[in-house]
């Protein structure tokens, strides 16, 4: 799925430098405890951890929606300011807008003309295979289709960095598997940096080049591991020995559930 309009600049992903980042909230206390890691351009990184471990907080810091209390989190692109795309756990579509008008939102906010925005957005809708549904309203879509719309929306600005916060958690397994493969295809085609938050070990192993495991709150980095699996991943992979071994290895590094730190 190559787009001829992609330039070299757009192919470049962003760099993330997370240096000793800490964050606390009143009421919950220290959530992130001196987290340090670095992500190279074009890497697909999964962030794993138990519920409440601060994975979402880390993602919000990366998105620029929040600031660390200590340390610094720097995001750089090869040229110019990095642009980010964000996919929430809930598809977060505006119910009063059609699929197409939902997808054009980031471009409208950036001041694009209606015609240009529609053109760009339609491309992304084609990429996620929702081109015929542009005139539908969110309430007419299935959960999986809403999520694909959300992904298309995130891609319209051709971001260097794509941030996803457990986007497939609320979907049934077949839809989830299908979307996971679609996401990898999109990443392989566009080459942006991806930071993917999840609590599912199998999902992390299937999707990512690299997995970061966080402990319970206050979260520390428990593991930073490069996944040794081929670049092209299909449904067959899920039952292969290599895959199962990787899952085991990661699962062993996960903190025991219920264990407070």
């Amino acid at each position: 799925m190559n787009s001829n309009l992609d330039s070299d600049k757009q192919r470049a992903g962003a760099t993330i430098r997370c240096e000793a980042v800490s964050r606390s909230f009143s009421g919950t206390g220290l959530v992130l405890d001196r987290i340090s890691f670095q992500v190279e351009p074009g890497e697909f990184v999964a962030v794993l951890g138990p519920s409440g471990s601060g994975k979402s907080s880390l993602l919000r810091l990366t998105a620029g929606l929040d600031q660390p209390d200590r340390g610094q989190l720097v995001i750089e692109a090869a040229s110019g300011a990095p642009s980010r795309g964000f996919v929430f756990q809930d598809a977060t579509l505006m119910p009063w807008r059609t699929v197409l008008r939902n997808t054009t939102l980031p471009l409208e906010l950036a001041g694009w003309s209606r015609a240009d925005a529609v053109g760009r957005a339609s491309e992304e809708l084609r990429r996620v295979r929702l081109a015929e549904f542009g005139a539908r309203y969110p309430h007419e879509l299935s959960g999986g289709m809403k999520m694909r719309t959300s992904v298309a929306r995130a891609l319209t600005t051709q971001p260097n960095l794509l941030l996803l916060d457990e986007p497939f958690a609320a979907l049934d397994e077949p839809t989830r598997h299908g979307l996971q493969m679609q996401l990898r295809e999109i990443w392989l085609a566009l080459g942006m940096t991806v930071l993917f938050v999840t609590h599912s070990v199998t999902e992390a192993v299937f999707l990512a080049d690299r997995i970061i495991v966080l402990s319970h709150r206050p979260a520390r980095l428990l593991l930073d591991h490069k996944v040794s699996l081929p670049e092209s991943r299909d449904a067959e992979l899920r039952t292969s020995l290599d895959y199962v071994n990787e899952v085991r290895r990661i699962a062993a590094a996960m903190p025991v559930s219920g264990e407070a730190s």
Partner: protein, 257 residues
């Protein structure tokens, strides 16, 4: 729909009405109940027919005043709510005074309105606006403050200006609440108009006033009937506009049968 189904939906609300009208008619004719307390329904119907031109003209006057008052309160109320929603300090400072519009008894400040706005329609419109403004402020404010946080995050992520957030997110999101407030306000606007007319003259209010002086209870009932119809018409208009705007996407419109 089959005839049976049609009957099943229309008969239950119609039956109590027919029975009570019948009882009232009999009671007045047999002089169980004196006619200066409760008029016979047939007298009210007669009154409606005899005075139909006058009642229609009066109803039109009241309706136009109520509409003007409603337009005023909608504009002012929405503006006020938007202003309050954008500043926590402003809201804490001024919202308690908005509540004043809810609690002030309009019948006691109506004479003041006459002093400020003079006799005639300006007072009536002012009265309708004052009585109907609070539901709009309250509902609109609630709607604006209930924006889904995830959507707000989305807008902030794409560095939307507060103007963009207000216009493209908060207001559309608040539309169901805004219509809900408008629905309540439209009925109140009719009430406010009629109260204003008691003091300022004109419309159905003066019909009721004169009928009262002349002990024509049947005329009073006829005028009251027409004024409830006005309320129904206004609310119906709001519902229509609401269905147009929300019909494609809001569950409240889609699920109503």
């Amino acid at each position: 729909m089959t005839l049976r189904a049609r009957l099943a939906s229309w008969l239950p609300p119609l039956l109590p009405l027919i029975v009570s009208l019948g009882v009232a008619e009999v009671a007045v004719r047999l002089a169980w109940v004196p006619s200066y307390l409760v008029p016979a329904p047939s007298e009210v119907m007669q009154s409606l027919f005899d005075d139909r031109v006058e009642l229609l003209l009066a109803a039109w006057a009241t309706l136009s005043s109520a509409l003007a008052g409603l337009a005023l309160s909608f504009a002012a109320g929405t503006f006020f709510a938007i202003a309050l929603s954008s500043s926590d300090l402003a809201r804490r400072a001024f919202y308690p005074y908005a509540v004043f519009f809810q609690t002030v008894p309009i019948i006691s400040i109506a004479p003041l309105l006459v002093i400020w706005f003079g006799f005639g329609q300006p007072t009536v419109i002012a009265s309708a606006a004052i009585v109907s403004v609070f539901p709009i402020i309250a509902s609109t404010l609630l709607g604006l403050k209930s924006t889904e946080p995830a959507l707000l995050d989305l807008f902030k992520l794409y560095t939307a200006s507060s103007g963009q957030i207000l216009w493209m997110l908060k207001i559309p999101f608040a539309l169901p609440q805004i219509f809900s407030g408008l629905r309540i306000a439209s009925g109140l606007a009719v009430v406010g108009a009629i109260v204003g007319e008691f003091i300022g003259g004109g419309g159905l209010g003066s019909v009721v006033d004169a009928a009262r002086t002349q002990q024509r209870i049947d005329r009073v009932f006829a005028a009251v009937l027409i004024s409830s119809l006005l309320g129904v018409v206004l609310v119906g208009a709001v519902n229509f506009i609401s269905a147009l705007s929300l019909g494609s996407w809001h569950s409240s419109e889609r699920n109503s049968s």
